[in-house]
Symmetry: C2
Subunit: 433 residues, 2 copies
């Protein structure tokens, strides 16, 4: 057991980087009991002239990531920029034989295959607990605590910004545009919110979890992703009347033919379910394991200190490996021949909520139900809502039993092509958890 200090090289000293330095400088007693001692040796930032909230050694802060990576006193490179060149820096650091810790979900989701293999090849490690669900130790729990299980399914609320927005909309505090504008004003949503509201942020996180829990191969772009941009307050109201709440869910499970069904989309979940009651910016992940059964992890999915906590937990793991003389243990992150691709969303079997506006005249419901029947879609319930006096149309809500996505898309296209339907049918998937 050593008291050797581990040299940390930091790329990025923004909110999270500052939090990491603060935690390292005021090490928890648990860290001290593990004989972990760190020294932030060198830092690269975009603008070295900015006054920082943390005290570092004279000359430690520069603007050149390469100087951090290649500093002989740096054993672990911590990448916290979220910037596009991060991929190159991480690759360079691993190639130079350094261990790397990152919070960068995009790089791990998109370049995991290459980077994990490179780390293994070089005998280094690449840890990324902070990349998914912030301070929740979900990566560790999947790689270690639940290792004896075959993960049967995973349902996650993985994006704090959209969960905050959906929570406020569910509380009736505004429509999508208003809530988004407020979230941006408060800094909860980015000036360009696309990554969050499109679901792509959650999809990248799901790709990472899919690799660990399902040994799935593929990036965030390879799985089905639909955002919350089109969710209207009236959808939320209709869901509520049925006893459901709308959440942006990330879902993964095995298919019968050995693939992995993985999808991110708004989903109606029973209002009394645990996931429906994850409010505000919190994250939660529900897993069904072959041995443990149902398990839920809940906590802050983002934010300075939760994210920094996850980064430091990775640093402590690396320190402990050095203290105990261990080599890297990245083998489980490298995909092998058994790796499964993501399935086509059109093969998924899901329950659906459909909302359409149709002319108020005889035979309409018969034609629509006939179209659904043709595609073997069985109806669970039909609600005909208020008549729009001016337009002469009525709102029709149809909840289906489980049906194949391909059939549903075909049926909806046919329904929308009917001359008595007005506008496009709203389709929201339902998950009974």
């Amino acid at each position: 057991m050593g008291e050797e200090r581990i040299g940390i090289g930091l790329i990025g000293l923004g909110t999270v980087g500052t939090g990491v330095v603060q935690i390292l400088q005021s090490a928890s007693s648990a860290m001290r009991r593990k004989d972990c001692a760190f020294e932030v040796v060198r830092v690269a930032v975009r603008d070295a002239s900015i006054k920082r909230q943390v005290q570092l050694a004279d000359g430690a802060i520069g603007t050149d990531p390469a100087a951090v990576i290649h500093d002989d006193n740096v054993q672990v490179v911590v990448e916290l920029t979220g910037a596009a060149p991060a991929y190159g820096w991480i690759k360079e650091a691993l190639s130079a034989g350094k261990d790397v810790v990152t919070a960068n979900k995009a790089v791990i989701a998109e370049h995991g295959d290459e980077l994990f293999a490179l780390a293994q090849d070089k005998g280094g490690d690449l840890l990324f607990e902070a990349a998914v669900a912030g301070g929740i130790p979900i990566i560790r729990s999947l790689r270690s605590g639940l290792v004896a299980n075959r993960v049967e399914s995973l349902y996650g609320i993985l994006n704090g910004t959209t969960n905050y927005m959906m929570t406020r909309m569910t509380r009736g505090e505004g429509d999508y545009d208003e809530i988004l504008a407020e979230a941006q004003a408060k800094g909860y949503a980015e000036p360009d919110p696309t990554m969050d509201v499109s679901g792509m942020d959650a999809a990248q996180k799901l790709a990472i979890l899919g690799r660990i829990a399902f040994h799935a191969t593929g990036t965030g772009s390879d799985l089905f992703c639909e955002g919350i941009e089109n969710i209207q307050s009236s959808d939320i109201e209709a869901a509520r009347e049925l006893g459901y709440t709308i959440k942006l869910l990330a879902i993964a499970k095995h298919t019968a033919d050995g693939k992995v069904e993985a999808r991110v989309h708004p989903a109606m979940v029973p209002s009394e379910s645990l996931l429906a009651n994850i409010h505000d910016e919190f994250n939660a992940i529900e897993i069904v394991g072959s041995a443990v059964g149902n398990q839920v992890f809940y906590g802050a999915g983002a934010g300075q200190m939760p994210t920094a906590s996850a980064v430091v937990s990775d640093l402590v793991e690396l320190a402990q490996r050095r203290n105990t003389g261990a080599t890297t243990a990245i083998g489980d992150m490298v995909l092998d021949d058994e790796a499964a691709p993501f399935a086509d969303i059109e093969d998924s079997i899901i329950r659906y909520f459909l909302r359409m506006r149709v002319a108020d005249r005889p035979g309409v419901l018969a034609q629509i139900t006939q179209l659904l029947a043709t595609d073997e879609i069985s109806i669970a319930s039909v609600i005909q809502k208020e008549r729009d006096l001016e337009g002469g149309t009525v709102q029709l809500i149809i909840v289906t039993h489980e049906a194949r996505e391909r059939s549903m898309r075909k049926a909806v296209a046919a329904i929308d092509a009917l001359d008595f339907t007005e506008g496009a049918t709203r389709l929201i998937r339902m998950e009974d958890l």
Copy 2:
């Protein structure tokens, strides 16, 4: 990375032991990707003539634990008896230089000081993920994932049997005695249910979590423990009217004077809180960490496969250490000079629900409130319930603001000594989470 098989010696082949063998024999793909291979070399059971549900090598099953411990092909001793001599077997195995994995919370809670020190001294390890909250990886998460945090507080539902009973009582499915009898008939409660219903099982688990999360020294007997034996359906009903649900909670937090407040007792928690909604035999642990904020872990707290899953996760960790050439890493489990003792419950500051039956005559409420005021107990609300026509008494419910337990005990003793109070005052602590 090795493909060396690790020799497992099993003491106990009951429900959990059988589950462990099954998981090891049908290793998950995640285990295989970690290059973990195990062989159950030798097993000790009480009665070797019983037919087992798992297939083991000829002659592997005997009745002598010492033969398991001292078998040269056994590297890891897995103790799963829950029996009294387990302490001696674990000690003997560690002394013999073996790594030990156990699900035995009593041994860890009562003899942790000695056993962790012994393991460290011998360069072995003692892992016990299964001892608390079954399949939930809470030990790992506290020791590793949340290592960067000072844990500020911990609230847990740690005993499945009592949570199952409280859930059924809350649903109005019977009184304490009926529900207990049914739970025993179904095998959810032991023939002698004392450990569960007295809260001692939860107290032992809390002592273990207290060691990890608060660096607290002390056994289950050193912390305050009150069971659910006296909870009546009328308490649950009164709680419901106030918007609360009664749960058997395990609570730990820091005190201002450097001790650790740790207590197990029935507590009223807000009915909309997450912990109030942990039903049936499930466990949950809510932690507030200095960096991560609120975090909740939820899952099955007992049962064959969840417990076996936790045992195997420990085995995989040991295998991975061997594969990577690491020495043991038990330092954080050994208490040092900074270890904090449990505080006296009488110093705790808590909110209280009081229910008493008093004579229906003028001045009664004035005297009771005066007694509370004398002990500086401030009242939040008073509800006078229905009059008992025959006895001429009324039920009085008082909810207090935060008060010191010592003052509350004094006040309740004084109230119970009044000549117009009938029977003892019911006192239930309240936690607003």
